[in-house]
Amino acid sequence: MKIRAIAFNTFSSLVRNKVIILFCAMFACIVLFMLMPLMMAKSMAKSIGAGQSATMVLGMVSAVTMMVTGFGSLLAIWASADAVASEIRSGTVLAVMARPVRRWEFLLGKFLGVQMMMAIYVVAMLLLSYLLTWLGGERLGSSPVLLILYPMVRYAVYSALAILLVTVMHPVVAFVCGFVVAVLSSMVSPSAGHSVFPAAIRLGLYVLLPSTGLLSEERFLALTQSPLKAAPFTDHLIALTYGLDYALVCFLLAAWVFRRRPL
């Protein structure tokens, strides 16, 4: 009950956070602006042929999805760092921690509160994907379960990482570090092709940093006209378990550091 109370309170606080509302509004405007090329692709369907049009729509949906998921990662990092840091900065944590609440319970409540907000974001993202493909005159063939589970696990990884970082550093520094981790992890993934890093460093970073490429739902985006090969159930299980395991390790480390942190 305590963890649930903290989670719901965190969620209520986040959805009222002016910085988050402002950035979401700005981002929504950018996405709406990006709908224009999609409408153009639809209007060109007759002249370029149905197959080519479907590929164009898929490419655009994929690009918008990539942007939206990237923004989601930043949102997860910022919301998690701010959810913990703002309580400490404002002093509201004192009244909460004066209750029979363990420090790890407080952190878990914060983490779950952020996940509640991210769940809404993911559902909105899914609806946006359907809307984009519909506007492009196509139909999304990917399983909605995959399009929900993968980003949720990826955001859980970034949330746990941000909570770990914010227990030892300023929230802005934690956000920047989280952002750097997100960029580096995409640079060192095998799918990134040529890398600026030497092989040994690239391998080390790939092992150490979260493999967000593996947790990307983008590879499952498919239109009915050109379905991608279906991945076996075990592939999903391994990828999602890997993500949850990474998040768990980050969270346990955060709880270990936070247990002796002055409030």
Binding site: K2, A5, T92, L94, A95, M97, A98, P100, P262, L263
Partner: protein, 308 residues
């Protein structure tokens, strides 16, 4: 002998500011005890280490050395926290919640039964004069209202120990009076109250024990009654001072001050009998002889001033 409600044993806390070679000794070997059922005033000038001590007591900070026990448990232990009500010095609450919503949130954190929540919340809001403001967001509260809500949340779980850091700051005289009455009623119900305050005349009327700190060091600890009686002067009230006794009074080192229709003489307690006999022999009517009781403010200033 019962377990002390609060026990500090040789507690030391040093702060090391980041990027600095200097350090600040917030507490140095502080030891004291608070017995269950008493009201203990925790006094000291700004920077004395009161808030650091309270933060250690609540498990927000950790001492560098020494031992702290709260209700027989280490600070921060959930078994102890379940029996503590706490009002922080500069407390902040979620501004988007209303008073009843905040109390409901704290009831959940305390693991209390929500079935009787509305009755309990109604009682508490009435006790701190916040009824009628149920739908108002905390962000719109005045400082005094926030302070009263803080006291309500501290009383929510009917705690055995109340830790109040400046509970009357921000309150109007009526509000302060109500809080002091509340503290007295809690003591009458066997609760332990540990409060820090700067308003000494108010604290004097309600506290049993006093702990005085200055610059992280414990200067004085003891029962207020005993500390205030520890003066070595006596107050003799007479109807008049005959002219022939003025020289004798000066010889005794006594100071005579007219008070309304009478004269108040303050003299050394060791010579009270001689002085009283002299006055009696001079035909004065000796109305009363009492040990001179200093105020808590006098004691505080003397203790802190003497130390510095």
């Amino acid at each position: 002998m019962s377990t002390p409600a609060i026990e500090f044993l040789e507690v030391t806390k040093v702060f090391h500011p980041r990027f600095s070679e200097e350090y600040v000794a917030a507490l140095t070997g502080v030891s004291f005890e608070v017995v269950p059922g008493e009201v203990c005033a925790f006094l000291g000038p700004n920077g004395a280490g009161k808030t650091t001590s309270i933060s250690i007591l609540m498990g927000f900070l950790f001492p560098d050395s020494g031992t702290v026990r709260v209700l027989g448990h280490p600070p921060g232990d959930v078994r102890a926290k379940a029996q503590i009500g706490f009002v922080p010095e500069n407390f902040a609450y979620y501004k988007f919640l209303t008073g009843p919503q905040l109390l409901r949130f704290h009831m959940r954190l305390a693991g209390l039964d929500l079935a009787s929540a509305e009755t309990r919340i109604g009682e508490l809001l009435a006790a701190v004069r916040l009824h009628g403001y149920e739908s108002l967001k905390i962000g719109k509260y005045s400082r005094g209202m926030v302070q009263r809500l803080g006291i309500a949340q501290a009383l929510l779980a009917d705690p055995q120990l109340l830790v109040l850091d400046e509970p009357t700051s921000g309150l109007d005289p009526a509000g302060r009076h109500e809080v002091l009455d509340l503290i007295t009623s809690l003591r009458d119900r066997g609760k332990t109250v540990f409060l820090s305050s700067h308003i000494l005349p108010e604290v004097e009327h309600i506290c049993d024990r006093v702990v005085i700190l200055d610059r992280g060091r414990l200067l004085r600890v003891g029962f207020l009654r005993e500390l205030l009686r520890s003066g070595d002067q006596v107050e003799i009230v007479i109807d008049r001072v005959p002219d022939e006794t003025s020289a004798a009074l000066a010889e005794f080192g006594a100071i005579a001050t007219p008070v309304e229709q009478r004269v108040r003489i303050v003299a050394d307690a060791s010579r009270k009998r001689e002085l009283a006999e002299l006055l009696w022999a001079a035909g004065c009517d000796v109305v009363s002889i009492n040990p001179l009781k200093s105020s808590l403010e006098d004691l505080f200033l003397k203790t802190v001033g003497g130390a510095s």
